[in-house]
Symmetry: C2
Subunit: 107 residues, 2 copies
């Protein structure tokens, strides 16, 4: 898969979202078609996120491993790769070494 290096025609919220004392930082944005996304990065750590709407995580730099709720298998994912998380669920993500940059696609 190719890596999505940029997003066009975005309206970007200028105040950062800071989670877990800065281990995860993102900026929210809306594209011209109304779709809502965020661009963010996870620093080396193991974090648990809860979802409201379903999410697709798309790697744009670095690597991570993720563990979906109810699964016992950690799966590796990197730049140019995606994984889906159901709504009203949770997942763990762990990063070591290079930060994991991502686009989160909501809904």
């Amino acid at each position: 898969m190719s890596t999505t290096e940029s997003l066009q025609s975005a309206t970007v919220s200028t105040k950062a979202n800071v989670y877990f004392d800065g281990k995860c930082v993102s900026h929210s944005l809306t594209l011209a078609d109304g779709s809502k996304k965020s661009v963010g990065v996870i620093l080396p750590s193991t974090l648990t996120f809860s979802t409201g709407a379903p999410e697709i995580m798309e790697g744009t730099g670095g690597r991570c491993e993720y563990l979906l709720s109810g699964s016992s298998e950690w799966v590796a994912s990197g730049a140019g790769e995606k994984f889906s998380v159901p709504g009203k669920s949770s997942f763990q993500i762990r990063v070591s070494g290079e930060p994991y940059s991502y686009i989160c696609h909501f809904g």
Copy 2:
């Protein structure tokens, strides 16, 4: 001054810029007029940045204090406030408490 809550018609680079072990994280973007900016955040810390081109820092959340090269006076700046940094120079910035979100205007 009012706070710039969003930037429109932006082309956003999806890979985060991570500086100082994540104490500063930003995403680069280009607006429709070709102007180059970044949206970022600084976590509690005292950091020294060097400039290539001149920069204008515009706060969008939280507060900081900055010390320009050659100055002996720390100056407070917060959401809705701007400060200018000359090109080929440097400045220190310190943040305590809430993260300082900013837009950096280049050139």
